[in-house]
Symmetry: none
Subunit: 249 residues, 2 copies
DNA sequence: CTGATAAATGCGGTTATTTGCAGTTATTTA
DNA sequence: TAAATAACTGCAAATAACCGCATTTATCAG
């Protein structure tokens, strides 16, 4: 990894999360903490960030007081994102839906990871593009303005031809009896096909959405391989899903 | 392998992956690292990429900070964008490339306009999505990280099936004899097909790019219907293009 | 076709940059 | 205050960049 590239990555992380830890970065990028410290030093001298003991802060962080709840929800999603990112190994083909949880996964991808990501979600693609080593494939079709994802027959046909190793779905409702459900018919179709085109299906959702329902059926519990929430796997609310044979992280 | 050919290859690699390593290139092309370094040096002097210790990075990588020249240029592009947007009428199918000039056109679209926009450019799609009344169609394929556009056989096949009313191309070089040229082979292919798939072709470029050349040919002057620059149509530099039968705005 | 000229390339030696490590000093926190 | 952690310093190894020069390759006029 080139020096400039590394510094760009650090800057990206700082702007994303408002802070970085030297120790964490050093582990992620697999360079010594000294190198990270020298990078932070240089970036700080260029005024790109504020260096502090143990890491660095974003410049905008100083004056902006952050609202408690929205950051809290984002923290939950970040936990989910990190768990999800850990599942991906070099060389994998990964199919993903859109949604804020998936975006957090994209942000948590280690920079050394080499894999191919396929998605129709424009915000997700934007995140994947930032990553130094992953190949990005965009599914084309008509763009749904509110979901910011491509939907339609073309997209479905294209996904049907894919054979992915992993499929990550950000889901809005999951129930032990009814499985996962959705409120948009076309997105539900898309997710169904994505499930069919992948060896393993990973559902990512914050725990609020567990045991909730929406009108349109996507898949049954039996179709899900892995369920990721921000809770530890032994949380009581997750027990029924473990009993149903799902791997819960 | 010819020098020009080699440099085009290097540029292509930079556009695809956002970075290249001298050592890797030298091994791939089977020339000495000195030669690669000299190539990178030249390309860097031409502003095509950014040379760093160990290789080179694409310009898009760290263009977050440079604003001095780009602001001036942005005003020019806004003028172009407004002229371009005025060409589009209700019900039209419009095919567009990427590039900052096209983005400015997207921003200048009147809110009441009802039309269908088709593109593989992710930043352009983002702008189109903001618009209340236009239909947006995304061309899918592998994403070029630097150009932020989908490129490849899929994209070309898809565009070939389109029959658009207008095609807007942001171009980087135009010359009265050689026509429009490009430095990325795959993007040149894409633009060629876009021209074939449209009734009318509109080229948008700032006047700096007039009478300049790049290595890969896209189309001849005769293939262009309308040329838009920030200059008034009677500017002397545009006269040869008017004489060649192009409508200049 | 040929010789002259210019451009491009590769190589050896030198210099500069980057990086990690060990040892020391500074800062934080309980 | 003491233990833990982070930052700083100097140094050494690895790698890359640079310089000058010889060799090869391309260009072109006659």
């Amino acid at each position: 990894m080139l020096k400039k590239e590394r510094q760009a990555y650090i800057l990206h992380q700082v702007n994303l999360h408002n802070k970085v830890l030297s120790s964490l970065l050093s582990h992620e990028i697999r360079v010594s903490e000294d190198t990270i410290r020298r990078d932070l030093q240089e970036l700080s001298e260029e005024g790109k960030l504020i260096k502090v003991h143990g890491g660095a802060l974003s410049h905008s962080f100083n004056d902006v007081s952050y609202s408690g709840l929205s950051v809290y929800s984002q923290d939950q999603k970040r936990i989910i994102g990190e768990k999800a990112a850990a599942l991906i190994q070099n060389g994998m083909f990964v199919l993903t839906s859109g949604g804020t949880t998936i975006i957090e996964m994209a942000r948590a991808l280690p920079p050394s990871l080499r894999a191919t990501f396929i998605s129709g979600s424009i915000p997700a693609i934007l995140e994947y593009m930032q990553h130094p080593n992953i190949e990005v494939i965009m599914i084309g079709d008509r763009v749904s303005k509110n979901a910011k994802i491509t939907i339609g027959a073309e997209a479905i046909a294209k996904i049907r031809n894919i054979n992915a190793d992993l499929c990550f779905l950000g889901i809005n409702a999951i129930d032990i009896k009814r499985g996962t459900t959705e409120n948009d018919w076309e997105i539900a179709q898309l997710k169904k096909i994505m499930i069919d085109s992948s060896k393993k299906v990973v559902c990512c959702t914050i725990s609020e959405k567990i045991n909730t329902l929406q009108p349109i059926h996507i898949c049954n519990i039996a179709d899900i391989d892995i369920l990721i929430t921000e809770l530890p796997p032994d949380a009581p609310v997750l027990k029924p899903y473990i009993d149903a044979g799902i791997q819960v992280l």
